[in-house]
Symmetry: C2
Subunit: 181 residues, 2 copies
């Protein structure tokens, strides 16, 4: 195309690739989705994807960033009544990402770029949770460990696919055991 191809068209095609990848990654998982399937779904040859993304991990990270931005927006617009309700809401939101979440944790050991994304994600969400728990009266001293525990429980609930009812009970027990001022 032209020297300065209108970035509109470029971004449109790029966006289609990301959308296809996102849908397939969420539905079948990362490893189970070949580049060829993403390409087919986006109406493109596999090679074309490599013009827009350096490799499959790069595409995954782009998808994850997109999901992250949307989740963040949804979180801001969420009506958090109870403490437990808030955690339940988070777990519910992650539920259809459980395939990806498990695979991310496995791939972190093999893809430095993904490891960096994972670290950023944890830092951000733990910071958010820390604010929330501080406001709820968790003392500064035990804040760090309490945040980690909550994060690990959330991850466990999601990756092990526990039923909503059971997840709620567990989160209630978790909150009941949190240190308070």
């Amino acid at each position: 195309m032209p020297k300065n191809k209108r970035p509109q068209e470029r971004e449109a095609k790029r966006g289609e690739i990301v959308a296809s990848a996102r849908a397939l990654f969420m539905e079948r998982g990362f490893e189970a989705t070949p580049m060829s399937a993403i390409a087919r779904s986006a109406g493109v040859t596999p090679n074309t994807i490599y013009w827009y993304f350096s490799d499959k991990d790069d595409l995954l990270i782009t998808v994850l960033d997109e999901l992250l931005v949307e989740s963040w927006a949804a979180y801001r617009g969420q009506t958090a009544s109870d403490d437990v309700d808030q955690l339940v809401w988070v777990v519910d939101g992650f539920r259809d990402l459980h395939l990806l979440i498990s695979e991310i944790h496995a791939r972190v050991e093999v893809s430095p770029a993904l490891a960096a994304w994972h670290d950023r994600f944890h830092a951000a969400s733990e910071g958010l949770l820390a604010d929330e728990l501080t406001a709820r009266g968790v003392p500064e001293a035990s804040l760090g460990p309490t945040v980690k525990i909550a994060v690990f429980v959330i991850e466990g609930l999601v990756t092990h696919g526990l039923e909503p009812a059971q997840a709620r009970t567990i989160l209630e027990t978790l909150v009941a055991g949190m240190p308070s001022a």
Copy 2:
């Protein structure tokens, strides 16, 4: 070989394959270990492995069973002073398995055999932990959720590779928040 080849030799070769697989799986992880590397390390052609094991997952499950038996024996022989010490001991034992543990959770979604193993493992270890916590005074009513929380925290600590000191602090906070009689 013979009709009834002395099972000694057969088991010896099978054992060598398992030992090689175990070492490589633990060192590099499951996905990063090709069958060819296991074969080379065992002094065998890749095809030979398929005489003893139906596929790579079958070999993995054999390795995991072996590790499980040894862990169980070590657990029985362990001197559990404190509550926290006990959990710290468990986390320490799992530490060099963190590659495998992450990969198991991802592969559970794709390999029914591995999923079955994972379920059995959780049932067994949660049963064990339930006994332990009951003896420590956790009331029957909140036993289930408390066990799940502990398991998820242990898995989180292992897969995220937290430093021993940090892990201990987190486990202390966890135990402090457990319901008591």
